[in-house]
């Protein structure tokens, strides 16, 4: 199959508003668009190397009007059309606060960077694909930011790999890498009195507890304000292996379904 058989187009148009758009802002828009489409393709393919590339195939004279083509190479496991369609659907969905269930925090951060890249310049960017049109103007940008506003939750705990401690200037931070590979690292801010403890836990698997700042999507917070001492976690495969067919959970004469229902009712989880 040749690349031309597996391609999809996205039209990008920029209209300058009341103020000038600087070349640097244009460069930023182009960078963020490339990053967003690449991140989306990797997300959909579950593979950092998605096999999808993006080419400019047409540019109009006198304005910024680009025709981008997403092209799949032979290794691509997803169709370029899906990338482009998901791109416009995600932008529209997030704006309406209707989030694709498996959107990740990392990808939404990238969408936010793209949408806000010409904020304040009054410029309007239009994306058109498959008959769907998304107009990113100031109202869209504001709505998008509201839709992605952080939610705060107390008593959040995450286990992950502790790395990259910043102990030079406040806020003191480290990064926690959660267990699921495609999830972005979580920024953890900690008070000065935990400096020694955190330094001692560098490059170890730890449990971090504190106040979580969440995006509306994803399972992990964007940031944790650590309010308890992180603890190193060690596991023993033998302990978990010894659990297999060894516990007396379901009482004699009861089915698994009845046992589950009983526990749900006791915990207040049943309907």
């Amino acid at each position: 199959m040749t690349p031309n058989d597996r391609s999809a187009t996205l039209d990008v148009k920029l209209q300058v508003g009341q103020g000038p758009v600087k070349l640097g802002q244009l460069k930023d828009l182009s960078t963020q668009l490339q990053r967003t489409l690449a991140a989306l393709a990797s997300h959909l393919a579950d593979d950092p190397d998605s096999g999808i590339d993006f080419e400019i195939v047409q540019a109009a004279v006198g304005s910024l009007s680009l025709e981008l083509r997403a092209v799949a190479d032979e290794s691509a496991t997803i169709e370029p059309g899906r990338v482009i369609a998901t791109f416009t659907e995600d932008l529209t969905g997030i704006r309406r606060q209707s989030y694709r269930p498996d959107l990740t925090t990392g990808l939404t951060k990238q969408y936010r960077a793209l949408v806000t890249s010409l904020r304040g310049a009054g410029a309007v960017v239009e994306y058109v694909a498959h008959g769907q049109r998304v107009v990113v103007d100031e109202a869209f940008r504001q709505g998008f930011e509201i839709a992605l506003k952080e939610r705060i939750a107390e008593d959040v705990a995450i286990v992950g790999y502790l790395d990259a401690v910043n102990a030079h200037r406040e806020p003191f931070t480290f990064y926690l890498y959660p267990k699921l590979e495609d999830i972005d690292r979580v920024e953890c801010r900690f008070p000065a009195d935990l400096l020694g403890v955190v330094a001692g836990l560098l490059k170890k698997t730890v449990k971090v507890e504190g106040t979580g700042h969440f995006a509306p999507v994803g399972i992990y917070p964007l940031r944790i304000d650590v309010n308890r001492q992180p603890r190193q976690m060690t596991w023993d495969g033998g302990v978990l292996r010894s659990l297999i067919r060894s516990l007396v959970l379901v009482p004699a004469g009861m089915t698994l379904a009845d046992y589950l229902q009983r526990n749900r009712e006791a915990a207040g989880l049943a309907d």
């Binding site: 579950d46 498996d102 297999i244 698994l256 009983r262 006791a266 915990a267």
Partner: protein, 159 residues
């Protein structure tokens, strides 16, 4: 980004089946669960569940639950997904879809929350021993994430 391992979401019925001394599920499902649990311990796949598993599997056995929870938390190939607003919203949508189906189906809230959690965690498949839940998925009433009974992928014959 490291290479992504196969990611299975287990609802609580899978853990009860694999931990309970007396068999509670058909032998083929039990074999699949045990083999997959071993694969997880060996680091070849990841198993994910929701933090509801604790009360659903162990009930009031708090000491046992605590010991197991610590090991699960520390295990690099096991992840526990906290219930969040998005999961509740998604679960609510699935329950409405089931109620509006012809004939109407009854999807229990905790089952819907498990499917929602597996979807949000981007699991490749959601495993359950509840055939009814699998039927709901096959009828298009849940999410796009496949819901299935436990199965063995391949029999490895050493030579």
């Amino acid at each position: 980004m490291p290479i992504r391992k196969r990611r299975l979401y287990w609802d609580s019925s899978c853990f009860i089946a694999v931990f309970n001394r007396e068999p509670t599920t058909p032998p083929l499902q039990l074999d699949a669960l045990e083999a997959t649990f071993e694969e997880m311990l060996g680091g070849r796949i990841r198993i994910i569940t929701s933090d509801m598993y604790r009360v659903e599997v162990f009930g009031t056995e708090h000491a046992q639950a605590e010991k197991v929870a610590h090991q699960f938390e520390a295990c690099p190939n096991f992840e526990i997904v906290p219930l969040r607003t998005l999961a509740s919203e998604l679960a609510g949508e699935m329950r409405k879809r089931c109620q509006s189906a012809t004939p109407p189906r009854k999807l229990k809230s905790p089952d819907a929350l498990h499917v929602a959690s597996g979807t949000i965690a981007r699991a490749d498949e959601i495993w359950t021993t509840d055939a009814k839940l699998v039927n709901y998925y096959e009828d298009g009433l849940l999410t796009g994430t496949k819901v299935c009974l436990p199965y063995l992928t391949q029999i490895r014959i050493p030579f």
